[in-house]
């Protein structure tokens, strides 16, 4: 049959082809569709020529044009010999040689039915017939040689081919269908097929044409369970009866074979026995076949069902021992071969074989041994087909086999076999199971809503952002349902499971926890919203090779038979789903892993904990983490123990190294305190080098005048006290001796505490008090301001609002300071432990130009503080004018102060003596400056003061300044001569910020102007002058002529140490200050003189020891530096050698 016939659209459709094309099926051999289209049975594996053509495929309603039929029949004799197409068809061979087969009436083409009613139709060839037809044919006479049917045997309407068609003409004069002819169609009865839409009809045609695949051919029991038993449809989709004229047929037209066979329709004896066993009445087949006996009318399609007919045709077949066998025998052999064997079905269902697995049914006593799936009552889950079977009235004519033999006949056979086997010993559970009474659809649906079939609350679990996958997969309800579905008696409709599976999101991808989470995460968050890293991770995850297709396990297939197509082959691992262990490696990756194992000499069998993958780490799931911890716990414990052992070994080794190094350093620092032979190196100089940062710092404070305010910031804590307390002590002494008033602040509360401690020591130092001439009193001599809160911000506030910040002292009293800007301070000193504090002060506190800014820092802070030092430019650019670093500069600074006031400089140690040491004689006669270096064996305890005085190297004012009179830098100092200079130039000269032409000019002096000379450079090329308005600057010596001083100073003793201090710039004023200090030094009280001359008491020896340790500290530090350098060097060399040896071993 051609495609045109198959695809003919319904009448009235614009694509309706003409009738000629519609009936070209007999000519189109090559274009014929697969023969199974014409088969009434599902497509089998039999060759196309083995199929029967007596059952045309579904034809469009109304497609059978009577004219076309007549034309074909009229041309049949003529074309028989020419084309041979009709005769070559098996159908025609069989029709001419054998008796017509007994096809079901509703499966026959109506036009052939009509033909059969008039004559004996030709039977198909023997080979083409199905077995059941062959058996039926065996009772008939062999078919004669095919001959053309005689003309008289043709029906009247066939015999009158040459006659004119009675009735209205088909075609009108205009070439169109005549109205009269069409009017006849309106008088014809309507059929149900006319209600088909074009799409429905086309869908049916497509389904008929398409070659079903194996899955479709395989009977799906679950699908059958879900669908009700198909009802026989009136007609099979072929041409409507009105078009074929079946309504005009009467019973007398039935063929003889049909009339002869119908009286013999009886149930086989075995079948009757079965009915008796079931206590069912025997079906009244005779009554059902009465229409055939009476020869009144042909059976309607509902009545003439193939199975009924076949059952009646072959009552005596020995092979049909029961009803199920009868139905089975009705299947064509080829079709049966194409269908899966019952054993396969049992295997697919996970059920035992019917031959051996259901023996317990025949043993009533062993009912308890029946499998759980069989004995479990599942009345509520009974499928519809079971209900229908249970409620089937077997007294009525048995349901014939369906003309559309899908899986239903096989299922019916199977179930009939089961029922037949179980019938002798039906248990109460079975009766309850097999006879659920569902009156209507609602009751049936309500049965599915029974509590025992309610699905687990998996949706709720998955909506949780951190679902517990283990609990989800091990849900008891899920297991119950799975077990319930494993039983063949109660399969739940698959759609039921598909819905919740789709909601779970496991319809794609592996059913792993990671996949579920990934799927859920993808649903919750679009990919575009992920950041780049996650997108790359997603992309890499997509590029991963798919997991190995191991196929669903039998257990899984048994548990969840309805969802096998939705579950990926990844096996389900309870307790540890979705971890990296599920990731599959590609062959290339496996090869690389093998290579790495070979290179690393790692045994492949060594179990190693696999770290979690990026996906597992990305999606933090509590269940995954717990599962991961549970799995890795033993391995992690082992690794932790190994690491602890390694750490312990390393700690023991490091501990020994640490101990040895520490002991070496401690001995190096401590031994010089006791062993003079280890006092190597030189002591720090007693004066700063000219132009050095230290000298600039000293000079900055040395310019302070009585009454000036000096801001001192103590930015250090306990860790820096050992190094910076000495510096702060020296600076405060110098400022106080200059008559200035230090104002101490700090952004560190502990810095305020240390500054207060230093001031307290000064206040308790009688020597210093004697030099100062009065008791040191807070508020009058110095101000301790409360600490500046806020760190950097506090400094900013302090810089912008000095008045408020300085209003309150650390004691909570008013300071009385009326400062507005930092320029009100004559000098600013920052004593800092960290470079960050130095930078914060430089950056936040605006220092006025021309005001000395001095830094005193630790050795650790010095490298990063150096950039803020601007030598030669005292605060010109906001940087430091001078800097003091560490203990060395503190040592020298103290020596300088002792040179100025040798009898007033106390010890720098905190344990400063409360009494004037006996060695601090009132006659500071300078001694050899090289004493400490040349006689280290005579430590300082006996003569510290003489050492300091000798090392100071007081400059000769006459020689230094080139002037017989010293220059005082402090106008307030009495009896000190003032050196003036006269500008000797032809034009105005510049007074610059520094002793070089590169410095900016601060003023211009007219020729003949006089200025006060307060200093000079070491090479006497520049003089430092003070203008009338108080400003200071430098002027070239070539442009200034010094004048005689107003008073003649007392020549200072010449000292050999002067050359050591010749670099000091302004020691002229120091000399004056020294004399002034000497003059201002009160005469010692008689008791004090007595104390000084008295023999040292034990209490008096204490300061001697403390002072002596000043040098020992330096020697100890020197040796310690050497030891540290040696240790570091040896360690470095050892590391290099070790590396070389290790590299050679490799």
């Amino acid at each position: 049959m051609s495609d045109e016939f198959q695809r003919r659209p319904p009448p009235g459709h614009p694509e309706e082809p003409d009738d000629e094309a519609f009936f070209n099926w007999e000519m189109a051999d090559d274009e014929s569709p697969p023969e199974d289209e014409l088969s009434w049975e599902p497509a089998g594996d039999e060759p196309p020529d083995a199929e029967l053509d007596w059952q045309p495929a579904l034809a469009p309603p109304g497609a059978a044009s009577m004219d076309a039929v007549l034309d074909w029949l009229a041309n049949l004799p003529q074309e028989d010999g020419e084309a041979g197409a009709p005769t070559e068809e098996p159908w025609f061979d069989a029709a001419s040689s054998a008796a017509p087969p007994p096809p079901p009436a509703d499966d026959l083409p109506p036009w052939l039915k009509q033909a059969d009613a008039l004559e004996e139709p030709a039977a198909p060839a023997e080979d083409d017939l199905p077995p059941w037809l062959r058996e039926a044919d065996a009772a008939t006479e062999p078919a004669p040689t095919p001959e053309p049917p005689p003309a008289e045997a043709l029906p009247p309407w066939l015999a009158g081919l040459d006659e004119e068609i009675v009735g209205p003409p088909l075609v009108s004069d205009t070439g169109e269908l005549s109205e009269d002819w069409l009017a006849r169609a309106e008088q014809l009865p309507a059929t149900g097929d006319l209600g088909l839409t074009y799409d429905e009809w086309m869908a049916r045609q497509e389904a008929a044409v398409r070659v079903p695949d194996v899955d479709e051919e395989t009977p799906d029991l679950s699908e059958a369970f879900d669908e009700p038993l198909p009802e026989p449809t009136p007609g099979t989709g072929e041409l409507p009866a009105w078009a074929l004229g079946l309504e005009e047929l009467d019973a007398s037209a039935a063929p003889d074979w049909l009339r002869e066979e119908t009286p013999s329709v009886r149930l086989p004896a075995e079948t009757k026995d079965r009915f008796e066993e079931f206590n069912l009445p025997e079906p009244a087949l005779d009554a059902w076949f009465e229409p055939f006996d009476a020869e009144t009318a042909p059976p309607t399609p509902e009545e003439a069902r193939p199975a009924d007919v076949l059952a009646g045709l072959e009552p005596e077949s020995p092979a049909q021992s029961d009803w199920a066998a009868l139905i089975d025998s009705a299947q064509p052999e080829a079709e049966t071969a194409s269908m899966p064997a019952p054993q396969d079905i049992f295997e697919e269902l996970g059920l035992p074989s019917p031959e051996t697995g259901y023996d317990f049914l025949d043993q009533p006593a062993a009912a308890s041994a029946a499998p759980e799936w069989f004995t479990e009552p599942e009345a509520a889950a009974a499928p519809e087909w079971l209900e229908e079977l249970s409620g089937l009235d077997l007294t009525a004519p048995p349901e014939p086999a369906q003309p559309e033999p899908e899986a239903a006949p096989a299922d019916a056979d199977l179930l009939a076999a089961l029922r037949g086997a179980a019938a002798p010993e039906p248990g109460p559970e079975e009766f309850e199971l097999l006879e659920p009474s569902f009156d209507d659809l609602d009751s049936l649906l309500a049965s599915y809503e029974a509590p025992e079939v309610r699905l687990p609350t998996t949706d709720r679990n998955l909506l949780d952002p951190n679902p517990d996958i283990d609990r989800l997969l091990s849900d008891s309800e899920l297991e119950q349902i799975a077990a319930r579905r494993s039983t063949p008696s109660g399969p739940t409709p698959p759609d039921d499971s598909l819905d919740w599976l789709r909601e779970m999101g496991v319809s794609v991808g592996p059913v792993s926890a990671a996949a579920i989470l990934r799927r859920q995460a993808e649903n919750e968050r679009p990919l575009e919203e992920l950041n780049e890293r996650l997108q790359q991770l997603h992309q890499r995850g997509q590029e991963l090779p798919p997991p190995a297709d191991s196929g669903p396990s039998d257990a899984l297939q048994t548990l969840l038979p309805g969802i096998k197509q939705f579950i990926a082959p990844t096996p389900v691992r309870a307790g540890l789903p979705g971890l990296s262990g599920e990731l599959a490696l590609s062959p290339q990756q496996l090869e690389k892993v093998s290579l790495l194992r070979t290179l690393a000499a790692v045994e492949a069998e060594t179990p190693r904990a696999q770290p979690p993958s990026a996906i597992d780490l990305t999606y933090e799931a509590r269940g995954l983490e717990e599962a991961l911890e549970a799995e890795l716990e033993p391995v992690a414990a082992e690794a932790e123990a190994a690491a602890a052992a390694a750490t312990a070994r390393q700690r023991r080794r490091l501990k020994l190294d640490h101990l040895l190094i520490s002991l070496a350093l401690a001995l190096a620092v401590t031994l010089p305190f006791f062993v003079s032979a280890l006092r190597i190196g030189d002591l720090p100089p007693v004066a700063f080098a000219a132009g050095s940062r230290q000298e600039a710092a000293f000079e900055g404070l040395n310019r302070l005048r009585p009454g000036d305010l000096a801001l001192v910031a103590a930015e250090y804590g306990p860790t820096g006290a050992g190094e910076l307390d000495g510096l702060l002590d020296a600076l405060l002494r110098h400022a106080l001796l200059r008559g200035a008033r230090p104002v101490l602040v700090s952004t560190n509360p502990l810095g305020v505490l240390h500054a207060q401690n230093v001031l307290n020591r000064l206040a308790g130092d009688p020597t210093f008090i004697a030099q100062l001439g009065r008791e040191l009193q807070s508020g009058r001599d110095y101000v301790m301001v409360r600490y500046l809160a806020g760190s950097t911000i506090g400094l900013r506030v302090f810089s912008r609002n000095l008045g408020t910040a300085l209003a309150t002292s650390s004691a909570g009293t008013a300071t009385g300071l009326a400062m507005t800007t930092a320029g009100d301070f004559a000098a600013i000193v920052i004593v800092a432990e960290r470079a960050e504090d130095v930078r914060a002060w430089i950056e936040q506190v605006t220092t006025p130009s021309g005001k000395p800014l001095i830094a005193a820092v630790s050795q650790a802070a010095a490298p990063l503080s150096e950039p803020y030092l601007l030598p030669g430019s005292p605060a010109a650019h906001g940087g430091f004018a001078g800097m003091l670093v560490g203990y060395r500069d503190a040592y020298t600074y103290r020596a300088l102060l002792q040179a100025i006031a040798p009898d007033t400089t106390p010890s720098l140690e905190s344990e400063a003596p409360r009494v004037i040491p006996s060695e601090a004689t009132a006659t500071p006669a300078p001694s050899d400056a090289t004493t400490p270096q040349t006689a280290p064996s005579t430590p300082a305890p006996a003569e510290p003061g003489t050492d300091e005085a000798a090392a100071t190297g007081l400059p000769d004012a006459t020689e230094t300044a080139g002037s017989p009179a010293p220059i005082t830098g402090t106008p307030e100092a009495p009896a000190l001569p003032v050196i003036t200079g006269l500008v000797a130039a032809d034009s105005a000269v510049n007074v610059r910020e520094g002793p070089a032409r590169t410095f900016a000019p601060v003023a211009a002096l007219q020729p003949g102007s006089r200025v006060q000379v307060i200093g000079r450079t070491a090479d006497s090329q520049w003089y430092q002058v003070r203008l009338q308005d108080g400003r200071e600057g430098w002027i070239s010596a070539e442009l200034l002529t010094l004048e005689e001083p107003a008073a003649t100073p007392t020549p200072a003793p010449t000292s050999s140490a002067r050359r050591d201090a010749n670099a000091v710039v302004s020691l002229i004023s120091d000399a004056g200050l020294e004399r002034a200090a000497q003059e201002a030094t009160p005469e010692p009280a008689p008791e004090q003189q007595d104390e000084m001359v008295a023999e040292p008491t034990p209490a008096q020896t204490v300061p001697a020891v403390g002072i002596a340790y000043r040098d020992e500290r330096w020697y100890g530090m020197t040796l310690g530096i050497l030891a540290a350098s040696a240790i570091i060097g040896l360690g470095t060399v050892g590391s290099i050698i070790g590396s070389l040896f290790r590299g050679r071993r490799r």
């Binding site: 002991l663 509360p749 034990p1098 020891v1105």
Partner: protein
């Protein structure tokens, strides 16, 4: 207990705690930890007392407890305490966001102050000083300029990517950068040496202190 006795006790306590700290040379032990805990606890307690007495109470006295303080002054006086309370709410997970207001003030103002200070107090003066150093002394100025410039080059990360995707810097940049790296190494070595010197200074001071105590000082 008079002051002299208190000083004596304090000095001996310092001696004992110094030895406890030195016990770390034998490894971490209870004596070392006890001394550290005592120092940290004392420092914390002292800071709290100083802060309350030196900052908070004076602030309240200057704003709220003055006779002429109006509503505005009183509100201003309470503002820091309100921000403090908000900052304390950071300890609560539920109310922690309220503390962000105080943190915003601190971080925002601190960053602004640090930025302004860095520009005006570090960058510009150092750049000017670098140029001035070149004028003062050609050799030293050149070395200073070379060190600064090479260090800046070493810390620049702009480079071109070749066809293979590797980041490549030009030969000149790499050479100058290597010089800058050397400058950085020297600087870090100086820092390390300074730290060692500081440690030795403090250690020697402690040794002197202990010897003074042992000799009756």
């Amino acid at each position: 207990m008079n002051l002299a006795n208190a000083d004596t006790i304090g000095l001996w306590a310092g001696f004992v705690f110094t030895l406890m700290i030195f016990s770390y040379v034998l490894g971490d032990n209870i004596l070392y930890r006890l001394a550290v805990y005592v120092f940290v606890g004392l420092a914390a307690g002292y800071i709290v007392v100083v802060t309350v007495e030196g900052v908070l109470l004076p602030w309240l006295q200057a704003t709220m407890f003055t006779a002429e303080a109006g509503v505005g002054e009183q509100a201003l006086g309470l503002a820091p305490f309100a921000l403090t309370l908000l900052l304390l709410l950071k300890a609560s997970p539920r109310l922690g966001n309220a503390g962000a207001i105080a943190l915003a003030f601190i971080v925002g103002v601190g960053a602004a102050v640090a930025l302004v200070g860095a520009i005006t107090g570090t960058l510009l003066p150092l750049a000017s000083a670098t140029g001035g150093a070149v004028q003062l002394d050609v050799l030293n100025g050149f070395l200073l300029f070379l060190g600064v410039a090479s260090t800046l080059v070493y810390f620049q990360y702009l480079a071109r990517r070749d066809r293979a995707g590797a980041v490549r810097r030009s030969l000149v940049v790499r050479t100058v950068g290597a010089l800058g790296q050397g400058v950085v190494i020297i600087t870090l070595a100086a820092l390390y040496a300074g730290a060692v010197l500081t440690s030795l200074t403090i250690f020697s001071e402690r040794v002197a202190f202990i010897l003074a105590r042992m000799t009756g000082g």
